[in-house]
């Protein structure tokens, strides 16, 4: 072995040691770091989560999403569930409809995240799924479809899709109507509408329903301009949208469940604690009282 080779090998060892040493300045302190999982910017679930936990703060006149930069970001609910199921220190949030058994949904401010509690208002972490039509719209098929959605039959479909419907007893009466409805907007609401449309088509075969999946804001603006007969939004309508002549109706509620690993000893958190974790003020589970 010549000198050159020895130098190269020494250099490689040095480099490896340097890399590992460089990030190990606070060895030991990170053992119980909370793994915070968040959704990507612009996602409806993230927007709702941030609003519901008051995580927007004014900085230099602009509203800033205070979600910590250390949060892992994913654009898939499945990855959130998977990470929380695998990592005992993880915390994440998903739509209540997507909750599965391999993770634990936390109580927030003592309220259990169930459809029942969303309905009676004790579990506050919920957002409305809304549809909106323009005032004075004369699409009879659309009016009939909305009547179906809000009827007992329609709300049953909503509950079956895993969301929270209302306990209405209004029954839907079949009418002889034909026509075409263009529905567009939020990608979170679209799956429910799709199920509703299927059920509706089974009753009323002559109506054609076209579903365009975009986002809440586009859904509302296109409904105002008349391109959609019905718009979908996964949030409350803004004042500007209401003054544009939209009439909103809530077809379902969707709770947002805060999930952790099943091994996590905690059953619930206060909304302040969730906010603390997600804004990066609380870094380890030891700082969270059980």
């Amino acid at each position: 072995m010549n000198v050159k080779k020895r130098i190269i090998i020494l250099f490689m060892f040095g480099l490896t040691a340097g890399i590992i040493g460089g990030c190990g300045t606070e060895t030991g302190a990170h053992k119980k770091d909370i793994t915070v999982i968040s959704r990507e910017d612009g996602s409806g679930t993230r927007t709702a989560f941030v609003e519901l936990f008051n995580m927007e703060e004014e900085v230099e006149g602009e509203k800033v999403d205070m979600t910590t930069v250390e949060a892992q970001i994913t654009n898939s609910t499945a990855v959130v569930i998977n990470t929380a199921a695998e990592d005992e220190y993880a915390i994440g949030y998903i739509s209540l409809g997507a909750l599965s058994d391999n993770v634990k949904a936390l109580k927030i401010d003592e309220a259990e995240p169930t459809g029942e509690n969303v309905k009676n208002g004790s579990y506050r972490i919920a957002r409305p799924f809304q549809i909106a039509v323009k005032e004075g719209s004369d699409n009879k098929a659309a009016v009939d479809f909305i009547a179906f959605m809000l009827s007992e039959d329609g709300q049953k479909v909503v509950e079956e899709s895993g969301y929270v419907g209302s306990d209405t007893t209004a029954s839907y009466e079949k009418k002889e109507i034909s026509g075409r409805i263009v529905i567009g907007g939020s990608s979170s609401v679209a799956p429910v509408i799709e199920k509703l449309a299927e059920a509706y088509k089974a009753v009323n075969t002559k109506v054609q329903i076209e579903l365009q999946v975009t986002d809440s804001t586009t859904g509302m603006s296109e409904t105002i301009s008349g391109n959609y007969d019905i718009g979908m939004a996964s949030r409350e309508l803004k004042d500007a949208e209401l003054s544009g002549g939209l009439e909103p109706q809530t077809i379902a509620m969707d709770g947002i469940a805060v999930i952790v690993n099943r091994e996590n000893p905690r059953d619930g958190l206060s909304s302040e604690q969730v906010k603390g974790i997600y804004s990066g003020e609380i870094l380890t589970w030891d700082e969270v009282e059980e």
Partner: protein, 287 residues
């Protein structure tokens, strides 16, 4: 007969033009959409800004550039030595009985879709690295630079092995025999004579591998954590240029969308630079 020949000529010419047209179209699309956004954001703010917060119109992609380089570098550390050694084994040491299955295994490795690699990483590598990180006291959730590097290192293996092996086989047998004849050991002959003679092919293989690593998206998105901030140790996550585009394209509108296309421009330029470096290295080699 003459018409036939003419016809064939045109057919091939059209085929050649199609691929060139594809490259040109992509360039035009990227630059036409990306450059105005870069201008609006400001080229310095865009390339060296450390804050990515589309909700507040802050578009700095410096962390993502560093992220892409970090993960690619990590993939090279794992992939290049293993790849080249495997190629040497296959070209020089491998018994005939093992060669068939080994070659097929490597080819299969190349054929696995990247999302399957990603899933494997998420289910197997991430828990591993998480345990390792926590037991060493560095913390981290397992979705990290190290995990992504390991996974990408695996993914670039078939590219490096394939090209390096054929380059080694293309070296005239006399080189090897000549080296043995003057008294060099087998290892010396291979690493000091055959391998340098195949340098150009080896470099091509490595660069193709780097190209794959830097452009890989689906596998990385599942194991890298995707935090849009500066790297914070190899046990912590990072976001790359590619994952930045894929993750946010679904909901992006207006300037946000254009900023993502501009991210693609930066990626494109990086790959062009990489190709230029190869061309330069090769030319120097030929002289």
């Amino acid at each position: 007969m003459k018409y036939r020949e003419e016809g064939a000529k045109w057919l091939f010419a059209i085929a050649a033009c199609t691929s060139i047209a594809a490259v040109v179209l992509i360039c035009v699309f990227l630059f036409a959409n990306g450059i105005p956004a870069i201008k609006e954001i400001g080229i310095l703010d865009f390339l060296t800004g450390k804050v990515w917060r589309p909700g507040n119109d802050k578009y700095g992609i410096f962390p993502m550039i560093i992220g892409s380089l970090c993960i690619t570098g990590g993939a090279m550390v794992f992939g290049i030595p293993i790849g080249i050694f495997t190629a040497v084994f296959m070209a020089r040491y491998c018994p005939k009985k093992i060669y068939g299955p080994l070659k097929r295994a490597v080819d299969l490795l190349a054929g696995i879709p990247s999302v399957v690699y990603g899933f494997f990483g998420l289910m197997v590598l991430v828990p591993w690295i998480r345990e390792l990180g926590r037991s060493l006291g560095y913390g981290g959730s397992g979705s990290s630079i190290l995990t992504a590097s390991l996974l990408l290192g695996m993914m670039i293996l078939p590219t490096i092995i394939g090209v390096t092996e054929s380059a080694l086989r293309a070296v005239p047998e006399q080189y090897y025999e000549g080296a043995l004849a003057v008294g060099a050991t087998r290892e010396r002959s291979i690493f000091l004579v055959v391998l340098p003679a195949a340098k150009s092919g080896v470099i091509t293989g490595v660069v193709l591998g780097i190209g794959r690593a830097i452009g890989e998206t689906m596998a990385v998105i599942m194991v890298a954590g995707n935090q849009a901030r500066m790297p914070n140790g190899i046990f912590k996550g990072i976001r790359t240029l590619t994952t930045n585009i894929v993750m946010e394209m679904g909901y992006a509108t207006d300037l946000h969308r254009e900023a993502l296309i501009a991210t693609a421009v930066v990626l494109f330029v990086l790959i062009l630079l990489l190709n230029a470096v190869v061309a330069l290295l090769k030319r120097r080699d030929e002289r």
